[in-house]
Symmetry: C2
Subunit: 203 residues, 2 copies
């Protein structure tokens, strides 16, 4: 069964790739349905019909498994980048509007919930969240605007967006959760706009 | 040992109060050192030298234990309320400055870390965090300013403050964590100021 068989791009045998995919699918199912803390390598192995040792062999730890499982999904936050198109003076509002619509999309929300909740207990999840919000989305936007201190500006914007999701979707504070999305867009859009393009003294 | 012995204000016998206090001390020690997820009723009982059944009898669940343990501490965020004194135009900056100094106080920080991290996995911790940031601190400030929609304004300010702590102290994103506190105060102060006192269309 070895020898001249074709290998996938990563140098893996086709059967190995199928097994990995089955494990990652079972892992994502568990992370989104039960959360990070309640997910175990043993439970994922059982759901995927493999030995727990194989999960460890492929992914090392639960953190490694989380990281790999999240990365194969198309993280819905990527859609945020499209907000850069349009009137530059309304970039903040467009970003917040799109961000809320992603959190309110039943397809996308479970993965975001899983990542945000896991970030509190897992270094890997925290790093993943940080990486996505800043390096992959907000820093490129800030750089494209050609403004100084792109990283700090992007991280300030990210801090507001993550805090907003926490209050509205995780803690479900009525004063914010019970308000129409467009009201939030008008309140929070200018904050994001100022962080990304405003006159900040960041030295 | 029962009979005519004096009882504490809550109607408890002195010995019972001592046992409760020992359990709460052991619980807080575990919640701050090991975090919410890793803390168990059994472990707290062992550290306090009592039977786990007694912990359940007093506090019901781990959530109940967390809630009681945090409430006996003087939550350091109360100090935020003092920021209301002074130039009203600089309220936002004073709030952010004081908030950062609390997070950077080695006495106060472990409890705040424990609460913020626990909020992601525990409904009780999330409710506690929400309650403190909004009802106990920010809503009274907003109401004292006599402005409309005090709850929504306070929660918007809270969303920025919690997101900021997450980025700077939990995720430790270098672009924000590596910047002097006063730089953050100047960047984020106007956001909090606008949420609390600015012209927002909240209807």
């Amino acid at each position: 069964m070895t020898g001249g068989r074709p290998r996938s791009a990563g140098g893996r045998r086709p059967g190995e790739t199928l097994t990995r995919d089955a494990i990652l699918e079972a892992a994502m199912e568990s992370f989104t349905a039960q959360g990070y803390s309640a997910t175990t390598v043993r439970g994922v192995a059982r759901a995927a019909g493999v030995d727990p040792a194989l999960v460890i062999h492929f992914f090392g730890t639960k953190d490694g498994l989380f990281d790999a499982a999240v990365r194969i999904r198309d993280i819905p936050l990527r859609g945020l980048s499209e907000a850069v198109e349009g009137d530059p003076g309304l970039l903040g509002e467009r970003l917040v509007r799109r961000y809320l619509s992603i959190w309110e999309d039943p397809e996308a929300a479970p993965l975001l919930y899983a990542i945000l909740k896991a970030a509190a207990t897992s270094e890997a999840a925290a790093e993943l969240l940080r990486h996505f919000m800043t390096e992959e989305i907000l820093v490129p936007i800030a750089k494209r605007l050609g403004i100084d201190h792109a990283e700090t500006r992007a991280t300030l914007a990210g801090s507001q967006l993550i805090g907003l999701a926490l209050m509205r979707y995780i803690l479900k504070v009525d004063a914010i959760a019970g308000v129409p999305a467009e009201t939030i867009v008008r309140a929070v859009g200018p904050t994001v706009q100022r962080y990304l393009t405003g006159d900040l003294t960041l030295t």
